[in-house]
Assembly symmetry: C2
Homo-oligomer: 239 residues x 2
């Protein structure tokens, strides 16, 4: 009765609840993974925790599962955003994957002065977040926001949300974060760092603090994981 396959579905889950599969899910489950009627699968939807479900109907373009029992309660991540400057495609995918594994609640791609990407494929990035949540055993999928300009993001910033920002120019900043509770966001600069104007704007915010990630220059995807680790250890759900 080992149910190793985990699927994210956009459907309510509960005792004896039936869950329809869409075409892509049916293809994956029956075509790729060769599951048949009676197979056990784990489902989550970001709201109702994780459920063990059984395949009750197999089709080429769909199928039906029925929930048997809850296997895990919903575990919401801390109220933490990861705001980052999109880079090359593969590394942007990695950042979304890693932010999901590391427990960010929201992922915000932002366009900075030194960002090359003029657009992102939000749907593709969101699919990466779903896949990472399926893989890492989480019961929550972070939302990937639309690409936003750095200035516009800060113009409408809610001051209750503190900012931890990491930048290659900041080797002299403290290596830790002050453990103020409440909502937070991590800002990761692009390769080349934030511009002087952006750095000045961040430094001028009362609710922002600079954090050093050591004496070497980290690539943006490495910096994202390192910064999430620093934050999770000090303020998050790792302890």
């Amino acid at each position: 009765m080992d149910a190793k396959i985990r699927l994210y579905v956009e459907h309510p889950l509960g005792e004896a609840q039936t869950v329809p599969l869409d075409r892509a899910q049916a293809h994956y489950l029956f075509g790729v993974m060769r599951q048949t009627v009676g197979a056990q699968v784990l489902l989550f939807n970001g709201m109702d925790g994780e459920w063990r479900a059984e395949v009750v109907e197999v089709g080429k373009r769909g199928g039906t599962l029925r929930c048997a029992a809850q296997t895990r309660a919903l575990q919401m991540p801390p109220d933490l955003w990861l705001c980052f400057a999109p880079i090359k495609k593969a590394r942007t995918d990695f950042i979304v994957e890693k932010a999901t594994e590391m427990g960010a609640a929201r992922i915000v791609p932002m366009q900075t002065d030194f960002t090359n990407a003029g657009r992102i494929q939000r749907d593709r990035l969101q699919a990466h977040a779903v896949e990472a949540a399926e893989q890492c055993g989480g019961t929550f999928v972070p939302e990937v926001a639309e690409l936003v300009r750095f200035a516009a993001l800060l113009d409408r910033w809610e001051p209750a949300r503190r900012i931890m920002f990491c930048d290659e120019a900041l080797v002299s900043a403290p290596a830790g974060v002050r453990a103020d509770p409440g909502p937070w966001a991590i800002f990761i600069g692009p390769e080349g760092g934030f511009s002087d104007a952006e750095r000045a704007r961040l430094r001028a915010q009362d609710h922002a603090q600079a954090v050093s990630l050591g004496p070497r220059i980290l690539r943006a995807d490495t910096a994202a994981v390192a910064a999430l680790t620093v934050w999770q250890q000090a303020l998050g759900d790792w302890t």
Copy 2:
């Protein structure tokens, strides 16, 4: 006079020292990067710090640089090894890249009970470490060791080197590391974790401690960066 290109060379560096380039370096510098006589390049060799050098001779199969001035002293990383189980090729490359950026001194691929890889391409992984060092501004390149069996590695372990081990089964372990000084190694399990026998063997060592990386299951490359962050913050060169 902006010297952005950084090259690792296996040659002594010093005042007025001339440095021959091999074919691959000449191709990169002159063919790909279009540098000519008089161009400024940064050099490091893992021993003599970083030097600004000038191109004095350009050839198709080689070339010569001459050191002008030291731009950075040698910064050795802490005495920290990263021992990890090789996974799919691209992610193994990432682990080597990230360990270099994060300041590991030695990278040890190890074959565990749940490791699929029976061999590694050590030279290719070493080349990735060189490239990562060139990119991250480090003056040191960690050595990538030959693949070793987990049991053989522990059989000849020097007890003075403490072990921090991270495993998906360890969510109840402390999230931090005890800040004992001295040489250390981080052990990262493969996907699927260490086997029960391996876990028991690690737990039985006085000099080993288990550390949790949070409630979600991290991929091995994510876990490597997270574990290196935990260690660098507590014991390394980040503070």
